[in-house]
């Protein structure tokens, strides 16, 4: 499980108004963080379908970051509240079915928290590196007859 040269692949689903802007601020402030993350932009965390998190893992991600505006700060008022409820249920179900919930890192990062974003990424990379490659999904993929092709 501890693989020295293992570099986890992490996908980040972030909301446009807070975390994406926060990540921009990290860049403007030239704060450095790990290269393992690929950011995908959504208008709001409320838009993030849990199926996308599943797909990310199935296709090869080892960890997923989901991040948005702090409660009460959502640009659309309540998208993050709905997202939070969805995550509470989803995380509980994943744990119930045997997927380590530590592979998904949820955070609230505002547009002013450039440093926090770098922290979240670095923390996610460190934790997922320790957890190792997502073997649950590796195992599940083995039972397929073919490899996924890009559509």
């Amino acid at each position: 499980m501890e693989n020295e040269s293992f570099e986890p692949k992490i996908v980040a689903f972030v909301c446009n108004w807070c975390t994406y802007a926060g990540a921009d601020l990290t860049g403007t402030s030239r704060i450095k963080y790990a290269t393992n993350v690929r950011i995908i932009r959504f208008p709001c965390t409320g838009r993030i379908d849990y199926n996308l998190i599943l797909k990310a893992f199935e296709r090869g991600a080892d960890g997923v970051i989901v991040s948005g505006c702090h409660p009460n700060d959502c640009h659309y008022t309540s998208g993050n509240f709905h997202a939070r409820r969805r995550w509470i249920v989803f995380r509980g179900l994943l744990e119930y079915m045997g997927i380590d919930p530590r592979r998904i890192i949820f955070s609230w990062v505002s547009a002013a928290e450039g440093a926090k974003w770098a922290d979240v990424v670095n923390r996610a990379v460190t934790e997922v590196r320790q957890l190792g490659p997502a073997k649950e999904f590796n195992e599940m993929r083995k039972s397929q007859a073919f490899e996924f092709r890009s559509v």
């Binding site: 409820r85 179900l93 994943l94 045997g98 609230w108 649950e136």
Partner: protein
Amino acid sequence: MNQLNQIAKELLTSQKVKLVIGYGEGTDGRVRPVFVRKSEDASQLIWDDRCRQNLAVYLNKTEIREIGFPIAIVSLPATVRSIVQLIAEHQFQVEDVIPIVQEGANVTTIENKERLEQYAAANPVVFPPFVVEEIENIRNKSVEERFEYWQEELSRCFKCYACRAACPLCYCERCITDVNTPQWVCVPPHAIGTFEWHMNRAMHLAGRCVECGSCTIACPVGIPIGLLTMEATRIAREELGYEPGIKCDVPAALATFRPDDKESFIL
């Protein structure tokens, strides 16, 4: 049951309803659903301990709706809860369905909203002991052990979707599995395909599953599929404070929020 047949006969003769859905004798000592349209056929209806299926699943079928509301339906407590939940989800109105229920030794009908909600609240879900045991069992496992358990159980799944067909709350005409742009749920019954299907079904039933057990009864390969949807509803109940099936006009659990929903895992 004489009381049952009597009530059904009256409802049909008086033309109060055009259809009574209930349980009847099937093959090999099993029970099957019957759809009684004529009052002479009311004698087909039976009600004993073998009757466990949740008949509310028929209320949302096109063919049944074409017969026309109101419809009377022989209801277990879980069926009543399903009906309340379906009303809350705007699938039909209170006056469209007349549940025929057991209250002690009597069989009566429920014909207004207050009685409906009362009955649902007064008859909460009661799990048989083997279910309680299994839930404890899984709760005591570690994450890796749970993974093994579910992979073992789901390996038998061959995507017959009987669980979906039996569930009264799975009424989408076009299920998420039918969508191919994009393909949310992989079609084949390999480990990923079944994992995605059952995750989605459990998420879709979070805060909606009334814990009737019909899905588990329906599964031809004996997967304890109800445990998944029940877990989703348990999370909705304990973490989100949401009880399905007892109020006719509350919005869905995942379409509302409390500003102070508690979570321990967000950085």
